[in-house]
C-alpha cells in the first residue's frame, strides 16, 4: 500500500457533484496516467521469481536423495534413469509454474472509497487469464486469506489497514503449475481508486470554534443551539442517547430507530485539519449527528474550508488528516497477494479440502504398481502381492472415509494395531538376518510396504498426495535397484505415467471443458527428450560402492577347504576321460552349469550342447570376460589345471593376493571394476571375476589358487549373490604395441633359474606339436610387436579356418588338426592353437575359461549370461600391463578402448531397438491406445450429442462464435459488432434458436434445422476469413 505523499495530499478539494471526492488534481492525474500507460492488461507485468516450495515438495527432494543412495548402493542404471526422469519432471514442474504465471495477470483491484481502521473491507480482484483454464485464487492480505472465484472477479474481505490514504496496492500473483512443486511469484503495483482509511473515533471531542455561527440562536430565543423539529424517523446512529430512540418503530422493525429531526442549520463548526484524527472524526460525527453544518478548515494560506455533509465526508477527511499527521508510520507497504495455481476444481484447492477422487485413485494405482514391482524383484508369491494390493485398496477406502470427515478413534486404533503387528512380525523376521543383502531383501521391503499401505490411509489433500507419490518413488527406485530382469523399463514407464497423472489430473470443471491432448503429448515428448538428453551425460554407474557390496549364499553342496572342484550337482569327480583312441562323448552334459571348462581337465574335443538357459546375471558397468578357470598345462589335446592349491580365506570380505603376472607396472592407469553376480542356475563352485580380482565379497570361504582362479567352499546354487572388485588396466592397442616383442623380452630371463622355471609353465608346448604349426607361428610373427603378431595369427585363423560347433573330433594333435586338418573348430580348439603358437615364439600364454559378457539389458544395465555363453580364450602376459585376454571369436573390446556408454544413450538405444525390432507390436499398441482415446472421446461426444439434442448442438456451435455471451441474442449482437452491420444471419439464427427453445407452440422442421446449420456455417466461414 502506498500512501499519498504528504505534499500531494494537500489540500484536497471535495467535488460532491459526481459523488466522488477528489484528492487533488495532480494526484488524480498521476494515477490516471499510471493507468493509461499500463493499460491493455500489461499493468501487472513484473518479474517472475521463485517464491516458495509447495507443501509436500520436500518429500520429492528427500525421495530423490534416497533414490541417489539406492543408485550408489546398487549401481543400477535403471535407478539412474529414474533419477534423471524424476529430476526432469521436477524441473518441468518448476518451469510449468513459471509458464503458468506468465500468462496470468491481475488486472485491477477495486475497493470501496472509505473504510475505518480494523473494519472489514471488501476488495474486488479482477484477473486476466487468457488460457481460461480453471484456477483457484487466494488473496492474502494482512493475514486474511480468501479463496477466489475463477470467473475473473472476486470479492475479498480484508481488515482495513492503518489510517491514511491508499492509492495503490502491491499485488503478488503466485502460481505453481499443475504439479505445483515450486511457487513462483510476481509482484507489481496496482493503482486503485483512492481508499480513505479513517481512524476510529476516539478521544474527547475537539473544542468547537463557534465564532462563525450562521444562526446566532434567534430561533431558540438566544439560548444556544437547539435542534430542529421532529419530522420522521431514521436509523439510530452510534453514540446517540436513549432519548432519541423511537420505540414503536424500533419494536416494529427490529432495528433501532431514532427520531429524525429537521436538518435546520443552527451552528457552523469549523475544525482544524491538523487536529488529532480520531478526535477530529469524533467531533465531526457528533456535529453531523446533532444536525450542525460542519466545515473543515484547511490549514494552508488560503484559509479555505470544506463542507462536511455526510458520513463519507467524515471518513475521507479524517483519513486525510491521519495521513498528513503520520506519514512515517505507513512506510512499510501492505500487500495484496494473489495465490494462484492451476487446479481442476475452482477455488477448492487448499490443503484442508479433500482431493479429487480421481487423483486419489490414480495415486493408489501408482502405489500398486510400485509395490508389485518391488514384490516381483523379491520373488514374492502371488498371495503376498494380492495382500499388498488389498492393503492399498483398504487404505484408499480409509482415506476416502477420512476425507469425508468421518475419521473416528477406532479407525486410528485399528491402524495402530495393524501397524504394531506388522512391525512385530518384521522384528521377528529380522532377528535371523545375517547380512545387509538379506536385510535389503527381507525386513526393509516389508517395512516399505507397510509404510506405503499405512500412509495410503492418510491421503486427504494435495500435500499428503505429493508425499505419497514421493514414497512410491522410493519404492520404485528400490525395486529398480533390485530387479534384474528385462521388464524394468516397462514397470518404470507404467509407474511414471500413473504418478504424473496422479499429480496433475483432477476433476473436470464442467461438462463442456475438454482435456486438450496436444499439449499433454507435447509435454511428454519434451520430457522424454530432456530425460534422454540429460541421461546421455550420465555414465553407466560404476557399480555399488564397496560399502554396500551384496553377497548371499543359499545352502549348497559344501566341501572342506581343499579347494577341489565341485560340479553343479556337488560331485567332485572330474569329467571322465574318454577311452584312448575313441571320440569323447558330445552333447548335453546334463546341466546348465556343466560346461567342461569348469573342471580340472578340459578336453578340447568336447563341447557340450549347453542350451540357452540363463545361468547368471552380472551387474557391471562394461562388458568383460567373466573368467572362472585358468589352464596352463596342455598335452596336445587336454588342458589341465595346476595341481597346486592356494590358501583359503574366510568371507565375507576376501582379499585376493596377486599371482604371477597380475601386477601391472607402476604408473599404468588402472581402475576398479565392480561386478555383482546373481546366480540363476546351479553352477560349480567356481567364482567368476573379470580382470584381476582384488576383493571378493562372498558369504563363505574362498580358495585363492596360485594360478589366479577362485573356488568357493560350496556350489553356487540358484539365488547366490556375490560381488567382485577387480583391478582393470586401461589397456589400449597402443599400450600393448609399445611393449614390443615379448619373446625377446622374456628371453632375457632364461638365465635366471627361478624366473625361468616360473616362466616355463607358460612357455611349454606339447610334444605332439607339428612342425607346420611351428613354421606357421614363426612365419606370421611380426618382428618387434607381439600384439601385432597376435592380430596376425587371429587374422590368419579368420581367413583359413571356420568356427564350427560340430567340428570333427581330432585324431591326434588338436592344434595341428584345427590349423591344417579339418580347419574347423570351436573356441577351445581356436584358443588352444593360439596359445601353442604364441608359446612357440616365447610369449607366455595360457587358456582361460568362463563366460563371455552376454547380452546387456540397457535399462537395468545387467548382463544376462546364458549357458551357451560359456567360452574359452587366451590370456597373454604383457609385462607392463599384466595378463591380457585375447579371443579370435568373441568381440570383447580392450578395456581402454571400450566406449563407456551412458545411461541416456543406452535408454535411447533400447527404445529405438525395441521400436524397430517390434514394429508391428509398437504400431499395434499405438493403434490400440489411439483407438481407446478415440473411443473415450467418441463416447463422450455421443453422450453430449444425446444430451444436447440437435438444436442444443447448433446452439453450442453458435455460442462458440462469440465467447463470453450469455444468450444467443447477446451472441448475435456481438457477432454483428465484429462482422459489421451489413451481416445477415446472426439475429435470425438467434431468433430461431430461442424460438425452438422457448416457444411451446413451435415445432421446428428439419428444414429449419438445415437452414440454421447453413447460416451458422456461413458465419463460421466469415469469421475465419476475417
Amino acid at each position: 500500500m502506498t500512501l499519498l505523499d504528504t505534499d500531494t495530499a494537500t489540500p484536497p478539494a471535495a467535488d460532491l457533484s459526481d459523488g466522488r471526492v477528489r484528492i487533488e488534481d495532480r494526484t488524480v492525474e498521476a494515477v490516471d496516467a499510471a493507468r493509461t500507460s499500463n493499460d491493455h492488461g500489461r499493468r501487472d507485468r513484473g518479474r517472475c521469481r521463485p517464491a516458495a516450495l509447495a507443501p509436500g515438495s520436500l518429500a520429492f527432494l528427500g525421495a530423490w536423495g534416497v533414490g541417489l543412495a539406492i543408485a550408489r548402493l546398487t549401481g543400477a542404471a535403471a535407478v539412474v534413469l529414474l533419477l534423471v526422469a524424476g529430476a526432469v519432471a521436477l524441473l518441468g514442474s518448476v518451469v510449468a509454474g513459471w509458464w503458468r504465471l506468465r500468462r496470468v495477470s491481475v488486472d485491477a483491484v477495486s475497493v470501496a472509497r472509505t473504510a475505518t481502521v480494523g473494519d472489514d473491507l471488501i476488495l474486488t480482484v479482477r484477473h486476466v487469464d487468457p488460457a481460461r483454464s480453471p484456477v483457484a485464487v487466494q488473496v492474502d492480505i494482512l493475514g486474511t486469506t480468501c479463496p477466489l472465484d475463477p470467473s475473473g472477479s472476486t470479492p475479498v474481505v480484508v481488515v482495513a489497514p492503518a489510517a491514511g490514504v491508499v492509492v495503490d496496492l502491491g499485488v503478488t500473483v503466485r502460481s505453481a503449475g499443475a504439479v505445483g512443486v515450486v511457487w513462483w511469484r510476481r509482484r507489481s503495483r496496482l493503482a486503485i481508486d483512492p481508499l480513505h482509511v479513517a481512524p476510529r473515533a476516539d478521544g474527547a471531542p475537539l473544542p468547537v470554534d463557534r465564532r462563525s455561527t450562521v444562526d446566532p440562536g434567534e430561533s431558540t430565543g438566544g439560548n444556544g443551539p437547539r435542534i430542529g423539529d421532529l419530522d420522521g424517523t431514521r436509523q439510530w446512529r452510534a453514540g446517540e442517547g436513549q432519548k432519541s430512540i423511537h420505540w414503536p418503530s424500533t419494536l416494529r422493525s427490529g432495528e433501532v430507530i431514532a427520531f429524525d429531526r429537521s436538518a435546520a442549520t443552527e451552528t457552523r463548526w469549523v475544525l482544524p485539519l491538523t487536529a488529532e484524527a480520531g478526535r477530529l472524526r469524533r467531533t465531526m460525527e457528533d456535529g453531523l449527528r446533532h444536525g450542525h453544518a460542519v466545515d473543515l478548515e484547511i490549514d494552508d494560506e488560503s484559509g479555505r474550508t470544506e463542507p462536511i455533509r455526510h458520513r463519507d465526508d467524515v471518513l475521507v477527511w479524517s483519513a486525510i488528516a491521519a495521513h498528513r499527521q503520520t506519514p512515517a508510520q505507513h512506510s512499510s507497504p501492505d500487500r495484496v497477494a494473489v495465490w494462484k495455481r492451476q487446479v481442476t476444481r475452482p477455488a477448492r484447492r487448499d490443503s484442508s479440502v479433500p482431493l479429487a477422487p480421481r487423483q486419489r485413485l490414480l495415486t493408489a494405482l501408482a502405489a500398486v504398481i510400485a509395490l508389485n514391482m518391488l514384490s516381483g524383484a523379491l520373488d514374492a508369491s502371488l498371495a503376498s502381492r494380492g495382500a499388498v494390493t488389498l492393503g492399498i485398496a483398504v487404505a484408499t477406502g480409509l482415506s476416502f472415509w477420512a476425507s469425508a470427515g468421518r475419521r473416528t478413534i477406532w479407525i486410528r486404533a485399528l491402524i495402530a494395531v495393524v501397524a504394531l503387528g506388522a512391525l512385530a512380525r518384521i522384528a521377528v523376521e529380522s532377528a535371523g538376518i545375517g547380512g545387509l543383502l538379506e536385510a535389503l531383501r527381507g525386513p526393509l521391503p516389508d517395512l516399505l510396504l507397510l509404510l506405503v499401505a499405512l500412509h495410503g490411509a492418510e491421503i486427504v489433500d494435495r500435500r499428503t498426495n505429493r508425499v505419497h507419490v514421493a514414497i512410491t518413488f522410493v519404492v520404485v527406485a528400490y525395486a529398480a535397484g533390485l530387479r534384474i530382469d528385462g521388464n524394468v523399463g516397462f514397470w518404470l514407464l507404467a509407474w511414471g505415467v500413473v504418478a504424473i497423472a496422479a499429480m496433475t489430473v483432477g476433476e473436470p470443471v464442467s461438462r463442456t471443458t475438454r482435456v486438450r491432448i496436444a499439449p499433454i503429448v507435447a509435454w511428454c515428448v519434451v520430457g522424454l527428450a530432456a530425460t534422454i538428453g540429460l541421461a546421455a551425460f550420465v555414465p553407466i554407474p560404476d557399480g555399488p560402492a564397496s560399502l554396500g557390496l551384496p553377497s548371499l549364499s543359499p545352502p549348497g553342496a559344501t566341501i572342506d577347504s581343499s579347494g577341489a572342484l565341485l560340479g553343479p550337482d556337488g560331485s567332485t569327480s572330474p569329467t571322465p576321460p574318454p577311452p584312448p583312441g575313441q571320440a569323447p562323448a558330445r552333447g548335453a552334459l546334463g546341466q546348465a552349469g556343466g560346461y567342461p571348462g569348469f573342471s580340472d581337465t578340459l578336453d578340447t574335443a568336447v563341447r557340450g550342447d549347453l542350451g540357452d538357459e540363463v545361468v547368471m546375471r552380472v551387474r557391471a558397468p562394461e562388458p568383460a570376460f567373466w573368467r572362472g578357470q585358468i589352464f596352463t598345462e596342455f598335452d596336445g589335446r587336454t588342458w589341465r589345471v595346476t595341481p597346486e592349491r592356494g590358501r583359503t580365506v574366510q568371507g565375507p570380505q576376501i582379499d585376493v593376493r596377486p599371482t604371477i603376472g597380475d601386477l601391472p607396472a607402476t604408473g599404468t592407469p588402472t581402475a576398479e571394476f565392480v561386478q555383482t553376480y546373481i546366480v540363476e542356475a546351479d553352477l560349480p563352485n567356481v567364482i567368476f571375476g573379470a580382470g584381476r580380482p582384488q576383493t571378493v565379497i562372498f558369504d563363505g570361504s574362498v580358495v585363492t589358487r596360485s594360478d589366479g582362479a577362485l573356488r568357493a567352499d560350496r556350489t553356487l546354487t540358484d539365488g547366490t549373490v556375490y560381488s567382485v572388485v577387480s583391478q582393470r588396466v586401461d589397456v589400449t592397442s597402443d599400450v600393448l604395441r609399445a611393449q614390443g616383442d615379448l619373446g625377446d623380452f622374456f628371453g632375457r630371463f632364461e638365465t635366471d633359474p627361478t624366473l625361468a622355471s616360473e616362466l616355463d609353465r607358460f612357455l611349454e608346448i606339447p610334444d605332439s606339436t607339428s612342425r607346420a604349426t611351428l613354421a606357421l607361428a614363426a612365419d606370421l610373427r611380426v618382428p618387434g610387436s607381439t600384439y601385432d603378431t597376435i592380430l596376425a595369427y587371429q587374422a590368419w585363423m579368420g581367413l583359413n579356418t571356420l568356427y564350427d560347433l560340430n567340428a570333427p573330433v581330432p585324431d591326434g594333435d588338436a592344434v595341428d588338426d584345427f590349423l591344417f586338418g579339418s580347419q574347423r573348430g570351436f573356441c577351445e580348439q581356436i584358443a588352444s592353437s593360439l596359445v601353442v603358437m604364441l608359446r612357440s615364439q616365447g610369449v607366455p600364454a595360457r587358456l582361460a575359461t568362463g563366460y563371455v559378457p552376454g547380452t546387456r539389458d540397457r535399462i537395468s544395465g545387467v548382463f544376462e549370461v546364458k549357458a551357451s555363453d560359456a567360452h574359452a580364450w587366451v590370456e597373454v602376459w604383457f609385462p607392463e600391463t599384466g595378463w591380457e585376454a585375447f579371443d579370435p571369436t568373441a568381440e570383447v573390446p580392450l578395456a581402454g578402448d571400450a566406449d563407456r556408454s551412458t545411461v541416456g544413450a543406452d535408454a535411447a538405444g533400447a527404445i529405438l531397438d525395441g521400436a524397430l525390432s517390434h514394429p508391428v507390436e509398437v504400431g499395434g499398441v499405438i493403434l490400440v491406445l489411439g483407438a481407446a482415446a478415440a473411443a473415450v472421446r467418441g463416447v463422450g461426444e455421443l453422450r453430449r450429442r444425446r444430451r444436447r439434442g440437435p438444436w442444443g448442438l447448433l446452439h453450442d456451435r453458435f455460442m462458440q462464435l462469440a465467447p463470453g455471451a450469455v444468450t444467443a441474442p447477446a451472441a448475435a449482437t456481438r457477432l454483428m459488432a465484429v462482422l459489421g452491420p451489413d451481416t445477415f444471419g446472426p439475429h435470425e439464427v438467434a431468433d430461431t434458436l430461442d424460438r425452438v427453445a422457448f416457444d411451446p407452440d413451435h415445432t421446428p422442421t428439419s428444414d429449419d434445422r438445415r437452414r440454421v446449420a447453413a447460416d451458422i456455417a456461413s458465419l463460421e466461414r466469415e469469421l475465419r476469413d476475417r
Binding site: 459526481d18 420522521g232 434458436l993
Partner: protein, 376 residues
C-alpha cells in the same frame, strides 16, 4: 380527471383482474424432438389459448399492436430524451408489465422529462408531485373535504389527490417523509386508496414513475428495502453521449420537444396490451433460469440479502413485456438476462453499498455472467 372516469377505470380494472385469474399457467415446454406426445401437448396448448381468447374477447385484435405501439412509444421517448434507447425500452416494458419505475440518477440528466414523456405518449391523465419533507399523505392520496351541497348541508366527501391519474410522476421521492412514501407506494401497489374506510380505485392503467437523486442525500429519507421492492425496475440513464447532448442544447431534442409529443395510444389500448402481455408464455426452462439467478444472488459472497421470490415474479412479468415488445408470444432467456440487473439490482442488499443500487446491479450482472442460460 373526473369521478366518472375514475369509476369506469376501476370497473375495467376489476374485469381485468377477473381475467387474470382465469389465465392458466402455460403448458410445460416440450422438447423440439419429434415425439408422439407433442401433438397432444400442442393441442392442449391451443385449447388453453382458445379459452383465454374467449375470455378476453374483443382484445384479441390488440395482439397485433403490441410491438408497433411499443415501438412508437419508445420512439416518442427517444425523440425527447436523448440517447437512452435502452432506458426507454425498459420504461415501456414496465408500463406494459403493470409495474412502476424508479429513475435514480444525478440531477440534470432528464429524469423528470422521461417520466413526462411517458405520461404524454400514453395519452391518459397525468399528474406530477414534487416530493418535499412537508408533503403529507393526504396531499398525495386525497382526503375528506367538507362540501356544502345544494340544500346547504355540509358533508365530508372524498376529494381525490394527484395520485388519481394514469401516469403519476413523483419527483424526488426520497425528499418526502417515510410516511408519505409509504402511503404513496402502498396505493401504487394496491391500486387502491383507502380513506375513512372507503376504498377508491386508482384509474387503469396506472403507472408510477418516481425519481430520486442518490448523491444529494442530506435531508432525505432513503427508501427502505420494502419500498424499493415495490418498483419493478430501477434505471440510471446516466449522462447522454456528446452528440445527443448537442441535440439537447440546440433544441432538436429535450424539453422543447415535449410539446410536440402527441398521445400515441389510449388507456384502453394500454390495458388490452397489458392483458396481451399476461398471455406471453414462460417455459419451465426460463422459469428455472430465473430461480437459478435468484439463488445465485442469495449465495453471492458480497450479498447480505439475496433477491426475494417477489423479485422473481416481477422479473418474469417484465420479461413477458419485453417479449411482447419484440413480438414474441414466449419469453426467451435473453429477456431475463437483459432485464435481470434492472429488475433485481435494487432488491439485493449488498454490504457497504452506501444506499446506492449500483452495487446491487453489478452483483446481479455478475450472477447473470456465471449462471448458465437455458438452451434448446
Amino acid at each position: 380527471m373526473n369521478a366518472e372516469e375514475t369509476s369506469g377505470g376501476a370497473v375495467k380494472n376489476h374485469v381485468a383482474r377477473a381475467d387474470e385469474r382465469n389465465v392458466q399457467l402455460p403448458p410445460p415446454p416440450h422438447a423440439p424432438s419429434v415425439d408422439p406426445s407433442t401433438s397432444d401437448t400442442s393441442s392442449t396448448a391451443a385449447q388453453l389459448r382458445a379459452d383465454t381468447d374467449a375470455h378476453t374477447g374483443a382484445d384479441t385484435d390488440a395482439s397485433i399492436d403490441v410491438r408497433s405501439i411499443g415501438q412508437e412509444l419508445v420512439g416518442a421517448i427517444d425523440a425527447v430524451v436523448a440517447g437512452h434507447h435502452d432506458v426507454a425500452e425498459i420504461a415501456v416494458a414496465t408500463l406494459f408489465a403493470r409495474g412502476h419505475l424508479l429513475i435514480e440518477d444525478i440531477p440534470g440528466v432528464g429524469k423528470t422529462l422521461l417520466a413526462q414523456v411517458i405520461a404524454r405518449a400514453v395519452g391518459g391523465s397525468f399528474s406530477r408531485i414534487q416530493g418535499t419533507p412537508d408533503l403529507l399523505p393526504g396531499d398525495v392520496t386525497g382526503s375528506m373535504m367538507p362540501v356544502t351541497d345544494a340544500r346547504g348541508g355540509t358533508e365530508l366527501r372524498f376529494r381525490p389527490g394527484p395520485i388519481f391519474a394514469n401516469v403519476v410522476v413523483f419527483d424526488e421521492l426520497n425528499r418526502a417523509t417515510p410516511r408519505t412514501q409509504s402511503a404513496l407506494l402502498e396505493a401504487a401497489e394496491e391500486a387502491t386508496v383507502t380513506v375513512d374506510g372507503d376504498a377508491h380505485r386508482l384509474p387503469g392503467p396506472f403507472m408510477l414513475v418516481a425519481t430520486q437523486n442518490p448523491i444529494e442525500i442530506a435531508g432525505t429519507y432513503g427508501l427502505g428495502e420494502g419500498s424499493l421492492d415495490r418498483f419493478a425496475a430501477v434505471v440510471s440513464p446516466g449522462r447522454a453521449a456528446p452528440e445527443f447532448e448537442l441535440d439537447v442544447l440546440t433544441g432538436r431534442r429535450g424539453r422543447s420537444m415535449l410539446g410536440a409529443i402527441e398521445a400515441i395510444t389510449t388507456t384502453a389500448r394500454i390495458e388490452s396490451i397489458q392483458h396481451e402481455v399476461d398471455r406471453v408464455r414462460v417455459s419451465d426452462a426460463v422459469g428455472r433460469y430465473v430461480v437459478d439467478l435468484l439463488t445465485a444472488t442469495r449465495t453471492h459472497p458480497a450479498a447480505r440479502l439475496g433477491a426475494s421470490t417477489r423479485a422473481g415474479v416481477s422479473l418474469i412479468s417484465l420479461a413477458r413485456a419485453r417479449a411482447a415488445l419484440h413480438d414474441r408470444s414466449y419469453v426467451v432467456a435473453d429477456d431475463v438476462a437483459s432485464l435481470a440487473a434492472t429488475s433485481l439490482g435494487h432488491r439485493v442488499m449488498v454490504a457497504d453499498s452506501n444506499g446506492s443500487t449500483t452495487a446491487g446491479r453489478d452483483l446481479v450482472a455478475e450472477c447473470v455472467a456465471t449462471v448458465p442460460a437455458p438452451t434448446a
